[in-house]
C-alpha cells in the first residue's frame, strides 16, 4: 500500500486533544506470532485491534497534547515506521466510529444519534434477511452468572478437568459395553411418541450448553450481558453473547470458551448414559436415552461444522488466529476478483501473507458454497412444513443471499472509485464472464438424462421347487453350471419307502382277498378291485415321490441355491423353493419410470441408456433394445424395489406384499446383452436414459418447476 506522509484533511484532527475513553481496556494479543493490541470498551462492547506502530501513536494520545504534536513525536521516534497523516486519520476515525475516543472538541451529538439509528437499521436488516437465524436478545444474565459462579468454579480447574475426563471416559466405557442395546433402541429416537421427550431433552441440553459458554467467559474474567433466543429455522434455541472472550489474551482461553458449550453438554450426556444403563425399559430410560443422544452426538455434529457461525466457526477462527474469519474470507475473494480479474491496483488484501490469503480464500469459497447449500436445504424443508410463512421467509432469505449481493456487486461495478481506472476492463471481464456462463448454461446443449430404478430378470429362469418331502442328504451345489436332468440334491425319507411297502403289502392282501371272493361266487370282488386300483395309484404316487427325492435340474444353466449349507439335514416340505436355475439367454431390466419423467419418456427419443448396479461401480451395461409398456402400472415387478424391500420406490402401507406403489409408474423393459459379469437375476439397479441434448438452464428450470409443482401442488 502506498503510504502518504501528508493528508489534506490533517487540519481536521491536528489541533484536537484526544485520548482513549477511560472505560477502554487494551491488551496485547498475538495473532499468528504477530503482536497486536486489542482495545475493548467495557460499556459499548466494541472491539478494535491495531498494530504496534498504531498503538505507539494511540498510546501517546493523553488528552494534554494535540494530535499534531503527538504525531510529530511519533515521526521523530519511529521515522518511517510511524503512521503517516493519512494512516493516523484512518486510525482516529475508526476509533471514533467504535466510540473508543474522546476529544476536547465537542463531538456532534446528532452524528452519534445518526450512527445509532444506522446501526439499528442495519441490525433490523440483518434480522429480516437472516430470518432463519433470527436472534432475539432477552435479558442480562451477568448478575446471575456472577452469583452462581462460586458453585461452579471447581468445575473450571485442573481437578475439574480430571473429573470431567473421568466422567466422560467412564460414560464412553458404559456406551461401549452396551453397544448392542444402544442400537436396538435406535428407532426409538425418532418415534413420534418420543418427540415431546426429545424436545425437553433438547431444550435442557441447549440451556446447559449456553450456560457452559457463559460460565467459561466468567471464569476467565469476562462479562456476559446478553442472553436470548435464536430461532433457528423457527426452532427456538437459547444463546448467550460470549464476545467478551475476544479480549482474552491467551488463545486457549478463547478456544475453551468456544468449546465449553459442547464440553458441558457432554457432562449431561455422561450422566444420562449412567442412568440409561442402570435402569430398565421405561419412561426414564427412554428419556435418558434421548438426552444422551442429543447432548453428545447431535450437538457435536451440529456445532463442529465451521462453515456456519456456530461454535466450530469461532473455535476455528481462534485456532487459526483469524478473527472475523468469514467476512475476511469473503473480502479475500472480492480482493482476488478486483485484483486479478479487474486488474485494480488499489485493492487491499485482508490477508497478511500468501498462505493466509489462500486460507482465507478457500474458507470463503467453502463457507459460501455451504451457505448456498444449507439455504437450499432449509428452504426445501420449510417449504414442506410451513407453506405460507415459509415461503415468505424463503423469499427474504433469497433476497438477502442473492439479490442484495447482486445489487451491491452492480453498484460496486458502476460506482466504486477504487476501480475507476480499470472500470472498462471490469465491465469487459464481467460481461465476458456472464456471457460465457450464459452461453455455457443457456445456449450450449448439454447431455440430458433421466434415471429410473429397476430390477434385472433373466429371460430363462426356473425356480427349483421341492416336490418330494424329506431330509436333505447332500450338501448341494452352489453357483455351478448344471445340465438338464443333472441331480442337484438328494432327499431321504425312509418313511416313504416304508409307506410304499405297507401299501404294496396291503395291495397284495387285497389281491389275495379278491381271488378268494372270486372263488366264492364273486360277490364283493368289485369293491375290492376298486380299492386295489386306488392303492395302486397311491403306490405310483409314492414311487414318483421317491423318484423326486433326487432333485434334478429342469433346464441347463447356472444353479443358484438358497441356503444350501443350512438345508443340509433339514426337513424340506413339498413346494419349498430351494434355488433357481438361470439358463443362458437374454436379460431383461424392468425399469420403474416415475411420472415426472413421463414427458421425456413419451415425447423424446431415448437415445441411449446405461444400467448400473449398486456395488458394482464402474461396470456399465448398455441395453441393446428397450420397449415401453404402454399404460400405467401400479405393481412393482419385485418387492425389492419398494420401500419395504429397502428399495427406492414408495409403496403403500396397506399392501402386505410391498409391491403396490403410491404413485403409478411406467415400465420400460430393456434387453441387456449377456456379456457383463455383473448381471444377476433379481438384482436391483438404476438405468439412465439419455434423451435429446438441452442446455442446462432449461433442464434446471424444468427440474425446479417440477419440484415446486410437487411440493406446492400448483
Amino acid at each position: 500500500m502506498e503510504r502518504k506522509l501528508f493528508s489534506e484533511s490533517w487540519h481536521r484532527v491536528a489541533a484536537q486533544k484526544i485520548r482513549l475513553r477511560p472505560s477502554v481496556r487494551v491488551r496485547k494479543q498475538f495473532f499468528r506470532g504477530e503482536l497486536w493490541y486489542v482495545a475493548n470498551d467495557l460499556y459499548g462492547d466494541q472491539f478494535f485491534r491495531f498494530r504496534p506502530e498504531a498503538w505507539d501513536f494511540i498510546a501517546r494520545l493523553d488528552g494534554t497534547q494535540t494530535v499534531d504534536e503527538v504525531w510529530q513525536q511519533c515521526l521523530d521516534a519511529r521515522g518511517g515506521n510511524a503512521p503517516g497523516q493519512t494512516e493516523a486519520i484512518q486510525i482516529l476515525s475508526s476509533l471514533y466510529q467504535s466510540n473508543l475516543i474522546v476529544s476536547d472538541f465537542p463531538a456532534d451529538v446528532a452524528q452519534l444519534f445518526e450512527r445509532q439509528k444506522k446501526r439499528h437499521a442495519r441490525e433490523w436488516k440483518a434480522r429480516l434477511f437472516g430470518i432463519f437465524f433470527l436472534r432475539i436478545p432477552l435479558f442480562d444474565p451477568d448478575a446471575f452468572l456472577t452469583r452462581t459462579m462460586p458453585f461452579l468454579r471447581p468445575l473450571f480447574s485442573v481437578p475439574g478437568v480430571l473429573a470431567w475426563l473421568l466422567l466422560v471416559g467412564s460414560a464412553i466405557g458404559v456406551v461401549v459395553s452396551n453397544w448392542e442395546q444402544l442400537f436396538s433402541g435406535r428407532q426409538g429416537v425418532l418415534d413420534p411418541a418420543n418427540l415431546p421427550l426429545l424436545l425437553v431433552a433438547f431444550v435442557i441440553a441447549k440451556l446447559v450448553h449456553e450456560f457452559g459458554h457463559g460460565y467459561a467467559v466468567k471464569r476467565f474474567g469476562g462479562e456476559v450481558h446478553v442472553m436470548g433466543i435464536t430461532f433457528l429455522v423457527f426452532t427456538p434455541i437459547p444463546y448467550v453473547d460470549a464476545t467478551a472472550a475476544w479480549a482474552f489474551r491467551e488463545r486457549w482461553k478463547r478456544v475453551f470458551v468456544g468449546a465449553s458449550g459442547m464440553l458441558v453438554e457432554l457432562i449431561l450426556a455422561a450422566i444420562a448414559t449412567f442412568i440409561w444403563a442402570s435402569t430398565g425399559p421405561g419412561l426414564l430410560n427412554a428419556w435418558c436415552y434421548n438426552l444422551m443422544v442429543v447432548a453428545s452426538v447431535s450437538t457435536i455434529l451440529f456445532n463442529i461444522n465451521p462453515l456456519l457461525k456456530f461454535d466450530g466457526y469461532y473455535i476455528l477462527s481462534d485456532l487459526t488466529d483469524t478473527p472475523n474469519l468469514q467476512p475476511r474470507g469473503m473480502k479475500q475473494l472480492g480482493h482476488w476478483v478486483e485484483r486479478y480479474a479487474f486488474g485494480g491496483k488499489h485493492s487491499q488484501s485482508p490477508a497478511t501473507s500468501r498462505a493466509d490469503s489462500i486460507w482465507l480464500g478457500s474458507f470463503g469459497v467453502a463457507s459460501w458454497l455451504f451457505r448456498l447449500y444449507i439455504t437450499y436445504v432449509i428452504i426445501m424443508f420449510v417449504a414442506d412444513r410451513y407453506l405460507g410463512l415459509g415461503f415468505l421467509a424463503a423469499v427474504l432469505t433469497i433476497v438477502g443471499l442473492f439479490v442484495i449481493p447482486l445489487f451491491k456487486g452492480v453498484k460496486f461495478l458502476f460506482t466504486e472509485p477504487r476501480i475507476e481506472r480499470v472500470r472498462t476492463r471490469a465491465y469487459a471481464v464481467t460481461v465476458l464472464t456472464l456471457g460465457a456462463l450464459f452461453i455455457l448454461l443457456a445456449v450450449v446443449p448439454a447431455p440430458r438424462y433421466f434415471r429410473a430404478p429397476g430390477v434385472l430378470f433373466a429371460e430363462n429362469a426356473e425356480f427349483l421347487t421341492v416336490r418330494g418331502r424329506g431330509v436333505v442328504e447332500s450338501r448341494g451345489m452352489i453357483g455351478q453350471t448344471v445340465e438338464a436332468g443333472q441331480v442337484l440334491m438328494r432327499l431321504s425319507n425312509p418313511e416313504l419307502a416304508m409307506q410304499r411297502q405297507r401299501l404294496e403289502a396291503e395291495a397284495a392282501e387285497l389281491a389275495h382277498m379278491e381271488r378268494v371272493q372270486l372263488a366264492r361266487a364273486g360277490i364283493g370282488a368289485d369293491v375290492l378291485r376298486q380299492r386295489r386300483a386306488a392303492l395302486d395309484l397311491r403306490i405310483i404316487e409314492l414311487q414318483e415321490e421317491e423318484a423326486a427325492m433326487e432333485i434334478r435340474a429342469p433346464i441347463g444353466g447356472a444353479y443358484a441355491s438358497i441356503q444350501p449349507a443350512e438345508n443340509y439335514q433339514r426337513w424340506l416340505a413339498r413346494g419349498e423353493t430351494i434355488g433357481e436355475i438361470v439358463s443362458e439367454g437374454d436379460w431383461l431390466f424392468y425399469a420403474i419410470v416415475p411420472q415426472k419423467h413421463s414427458n421425456l419418456l413419451f415425447n423424446q427419443e431415448l437415445r441411449s441408456a446405461t444400467v448400473r448396479f449398486p456395488g458394482s461401480a464402474g461396470a456399465l451395461v448398455e441395453p441393446t433394445a428397450w420397449s415401453i409398456v404402454p399404460g400405467q402400472q401400479e405393481y412393482l415387478p419385485s418387492p425389492a424395489l419398494g420401500w419395504r424391500g429397502m428399495g427406492p420406490v414408495q409403496v403403500r402401507d396397506d399392501d402386505p406384499d410391498g409391491v403396490r406403489t403410491v404413485e403409478p409408474f411406467f415400465l420400460v423393459i430393456s434387453k441387456l446383452p449377456d456379456t457383463a459379469s455383473v448381471l444377476r437375476h433379481s438384482r436391483v439397479g438404476v438405468v439412465r436414459f439419455r434423451v435429446a441434448n438441452e442446455p442446462y438452464a432449461f433442464q434446471w428450470y424444468r427440474a425446479l418447476r417440477q419440484a415446486v409443482q410437487k411440493r406446492f401442488m400448483f
Binding site: V13, Y96, P106, D108, T424
Partner: protein
C-alpha cells in the same frame, strides 16, 4: 431594521449582547441540515423528480405569468409617488412576514419592483427578465442568454430576498463585477429601502463586517467561502449557533473574536455553471505559512532524487489520470538513495511519497500552462479562467516540489487551517438560485447536488449566430495554418475576431503566426492581463483581433463597435475544444449577443490534448490508423472521436466533483468534532 446579530452578540465588551434575543440570532445563523447526495436507487428516483421539475410546462407557466405581470407593470407606471410607496410598503411587510419563504411573495410584488427599477434606473424589465426573477424566487437554475439583462433579473429577485430580512448574497464572477453591479443598482436598492454593498478582496475584517450587514451583498464566491471559513475558525467550538445561544442563556461569554457574516440564507449565483461546476473542482483552503525547515529540505532533496529517475525505466507516467507509478527499479534506487540519509529522509516510505510528488510536478505541472514564473516566484494560473492567482498555492509538498523543480527559493509550506469544497458550501443555503447563459448541459448535476432545477428563459431577441461546422485536422500545424487563414479572411471583411486558446503557450504561438502575416492583434492571457477591461471594451470594434485564453466566466460582454454589425458582427474562433461542451458554447455565446449578428467556428486537430488525453488508447490507435491512411470517412470519425473525448472529459470532471463532495462528507462523518448537518462548522480547531 437590521439588527447586527453575530457581531453584537460577540462584541460583548460593548455590552450590547444583552439586547439580542439569542434564539433569533441562532435561527438566523443556523445552517440548514445538508442531506447527503442521493445515490443508488434514491438517486434514480431523485433524477426522475428532477426531470419532472425541469419539465417544459413549468417554464411555460412562468412565461405566461411573466407576460401577465408585464401588463400589470405597464399599469403601475402611472402610479403616483405615494401610491407607489404604499404598494412597496405593503409588499415589503408581506415578504418580511413570509421570512424564509420570501419567494412566495415575489409574484405579487413584481410590479412594484419593476417600477422601482424603472423609476431609478430607467430600465423597463422585459418579460424575460421578469420570468427570470420569478424563477430565481422559486430557487431555480435559470438559463438566460448573455446580454439579455441578467443583472437586472438578479436585482429584482435580490431586492425581494433582501426584504425578507434574511441575509441575501449575490455571487458574481469577480470583484470588479461585484463592485460594478452593486454601484449600478444602488439607487434601485435604496428606493426599495435596502442597503447594498460589495465585498472586495482587500477589505479588512471590520470593513467586511460592515459590508455584510447590508440587505443585499454582492461578492465573489471565494470571498464568501473564505469569510465563512474564517468565521468558523474565529468561533471555534462555538460555531454552532445553538451552542452560542446556550452560552448566552447561561449568561457566560466566550472568547470568540467575532464573525463577519450574519448568516447564510439566500444566494443568487451569477454565471452559476462557472461558480458551481468549474470552480468547484478545487476546494477552498484557508492556510497560514508555518516554519518547517525539515519539510523544505526534504522537498528539495526529494527533487534531487527525482531528477535521477528516468521515465519508463524507473516509473510509469499515466497522462490521462495524471498519475505517476514508481516501479520496482525505481523503488530500489530510492531505497539506496535513502540509506546514507538521516531523519525524515531515511524513511523510505516518506521519501517515496515526496519523490512521487516531485515527479508529478515535473510531468504535469508545466511552466506557462499551470503556472508562470514572476520575480522568481511560482504563480498559479487558473485553468478555467486563465487568470493569475497570486497568493494561491498547491497542496502541501506539491507547491514546494514545483518550486524545487524551478530551482527557485522554496517557500514555507503552508499549514491548512480550514478547508471546504464549494459544493458543500452552496448546499448550506436555504434558498439557492443560479443564472447562466449555459446551464442546460449540466442541469442533472445541479439537480443532484444542489437540488435546483432548470428553467429556460426564452430569448428576448432571436439568436442569429451562425455556428460553422467543426473544422477537423490531423496535425496541429495544419490546424494553426487554417486558423491563421480563417482569421485573415474574416479580418479582410473587417469583422472583429475573438480567438480563444486554451493555454498561455498557444496564445503566444498564434500571436507569432499572426505577426508573421503582418496582422495587428491583442493578446489577453495570464501574463498579459493588465489592460483587460480596455481590451474587452475594444474587442468588438471593427478589424480587431483579440486572442484570449479561456474567456469563459469572466462575465464580460463584448459589445459591438460602430459598424461592426454591418460586417457580420463578432466572429469567435475556438482553436481547440474544451473539456466540456458547455464551455465551448459559453465562448461561442460571446458572439451575436442581443440579436446582433455573429458567427463562430471550432477547430479541432487529432493531436489536440483533449483527444489525446481522453480518447481511449484503442479508439485512438484506430483513429490514427484511419486518418494516416487517409481512408474515406476520416472526418466523420474524427468528429465522433472529438465528441467522445469531450463527453469522457465531462464525465471525468463530474466524477471528480462528486468525489470531492463525498470525500468532504465522509471525513465529516468519520471524524470527531465534525458536524453531521453542516460539514464546515467544525472546520476550525
Amino acid at each position: 431594521m437590521e439588527k447586527p446579530g453575530i457581531e453584537a452578540g460577540m462584541a460583548g465588551r460593548e455590552g450590547r449582547h444583552k439586547f439580542i434575543p439569542p434564539r433569533s440570532e441562532a435561527l438566523r445563523t443556523e445552517i440548514r441540515p445538508v442531506d447527503p447526495v442521493p445515490a443508488g436507487l434514491d438517486g434514480l428516483w431523485h433524477d426522475c423528480a428532477g426531470a419532472w421539475e425541469s419539465r417544459r410546462s413549468r417554464s411555460q407557466r412562468l412565461w405566461a405569468k411573466a407576460l401577465e405581470l408585464e401588463a400589470l407593470c405597464r399599469q403601475s407606471e402611472a402610479w403616483h409617488e405615494h401610491e407607489f410607496k404604499e404598494a412597496m410598503r405593503t409588499h415589503r411587510a408581506r415578504i418580511k412576514r413570509l421570512g424564509a419563504r420570501w419567494g412566495a411573495g415575489v409574484e405579487a410584488a413584481m410590479p412594484c419592483l419593476v417600477e422601482a427599477a424603472r423609476r431609478t434606473l430607467h430600465l423597463r424589465a422585459y418579460p424575460t427578465q421578469i420570468m427570470g426573477a420569478l424563477a430565481i424566487s422559486e430557487g431555480a437554475l435559470v438559463e438566460m442568454a448573455t446580454g439579455e439583462g441578467k443583472t437586472l433579473t438578479i436585482a429584482l429577485a435580490a431586492a425581494a430576498a433582501g426584504w425578507s430580512g434574511k441575509p441575501c448574497h449575490v455571487i458574481t464572477a469577480n470583484d470588479y463585477l461585484a463592485q460594478r453591479d452593486a454601484a449600478d443598482f444602488s439607487r434601485f436598492y435604496q428606493l426599495c429601502g435596502l442597503g447594498v454593498a460589495s465585498v472586495r478582496a482587500e477589505m479588512t475584517p471590520p470593513e467586511r463586517r460592515m459590508t455584510y450587514q447590508a440587505g443585499v451583498v454582492y461578492c465573489t464566491g471565494k470571498e464568501l467561502v473564505a469569510d465563512y471559513l474564517r468565521d468558523q475558525i474565529a468561533l471555534g467550538p462555538y460555531s454552532d449557533a445553538h451552542r452560542r445561544a446556550m452560552i448566552y442563556l447561561l449568561g457566560r461569554h466566550y472568547s470568540g473574536q467575532g464573525a463577519v457574516l450574519r448568516g447564510l440564507h439566500t444566494a443568487i449565483v451569477d454565471e452559476v455553471d462557472n461558480q458551481l461546476i468549474d470552480e468547484a473542482a478545487t476546494p477552498l483552503i484557508i492556510s497560514r505559512h508555518a516554519e518547517n525547515e525539515a519539510m523544505k529540505t526534504a522537498c528539495i532533496a526529494a527533487d534531487r532524487c527525482a531528477a535521477g529517475l528516468l521515465p519508463g525505466e524507473h516509473y510509469a507516467v499515466n497522462e490521462r489520470e495524471k498519475e505517476i507509478t514508481i516501479n520496482e527499479a525505481g523503488r530500489k534506487l530510492i531505497a539506496e538513495w535513502c540509506e546514507d540519509k538521516t531523519g525524515l529522509l531515511n524513511a523510505q516510505d516518506w521519501v517515496m511519497d515526496l519523490v512521487q510528488q516531485s515527479l508529478q510536478a515535473r510531468h504535469f505541472f508545466l511552466r506557462d500552462k499551470q503556472y508562470v514564473m514572476i520575480d522568481g516566484k511560482v504563480v498559479i494560473v487558473d485553468e478555467y479562467t486563465g487568470r493569475l492567482m497570486p497568493g494561491r498555492s498547491w497542496r502541501l509538498g506539491l507547491h514546494q516540489a514545483v518550486e524545487a523543480k524551478e530551482a527557485t527559493e522554496v517557500s514555507e509550506p503552508s499549514e491548512t487551517l480550514a478547508r471546504l469544497s464549494f459544493q458543500n458550501f452552496y448546499r448550506y443555503f436555504n434558498h439557492l438560485a443560479g443564472i447562466s447563459g449555459t446551464a442546460r448541459e449540466s442541469w442533472r448535476e445541479f439537480w443532484r447536488i444542489y437540488g435546483i432545477s432548470l428553467v429556460e428563459v426564452p430569448h428576448y431577441k432571436p439568436n442569429i449566430r451562425e455556428d460553422a461546422p467543426l473544422r477537423l485536422f490531423y496535425s496541429e500545424d495544419a490546424k494553426w495554418a487554417a486558423v491563421v487563414e480563417e482569421i485573415d479572411q474574416q479580418h479582410r471583411r473587417g469583422r472583429p475576431i475573438l480567438v480563444g486558446t486554451r493555454s498561455v503557450d498557444a496564445s503566444e504561438r498564434l500571436g507569432r503566426l499572426l505577426q508573421g502575416r503582418g496582422m495587428v492583434y491583442t493578446i489577453l492571457n495570464a501574463v498579459r492581463h493588465e489592460q483587460e477591461a480596455e481590451i474587452v471594451l475594444r474587442a468588438g470594434d471593427l478589424q480587431t483581433i483579440t486572442i484570449a485564453t479561456n474567456m469563459a466566466g469572466r462575465g464580460t460582454d463584448i459589445r459591438l463597435g460602430p459598424g461592426a454589425a454591418n460586417c457580420g458582427g463578432l466572429h469567435v474562433i475556438l482553436t481547440e475544444g474544451h473539456e466540456s461542451a458547455r464551455i465551448d458554447r459559453q465562448l461561442k455565446g460571446r458572439a451575436a449577443r442581443q440579436g446582433s449578428p455573429g458567427s463562430s467556428v471550432v477547430f479541432v486537430a487529432f493531436s489536440d490534448e483533449l483527444i489525446q488525453r481522453f480518447l481511449g488508447p484503442i479508439r485512438k490507435r484506430m483513429l490514427k490508423f484511419w486518418l494516416s491512411k487517409r481512408l474515406p470517412g476520416g472526418a466523420t470519425l474524427l468528429k465522433l472521436g472529438f465528441k467522445i473525448a469531450q463527453r469522457k472529459a465531462e464525465k471525468k470532471g463530474r466524477r471528480q466533483r462528486f468525489m470531492l463532495l463525498k470525500q468532504d462528507q465522509d471525513i465529516t462523518k468519520n471524524l470527531i468534532g465534525a458536524k453531521a448537518k453542516s460539514t464546515a462548522r467544525s472546520e476550525a480547531f
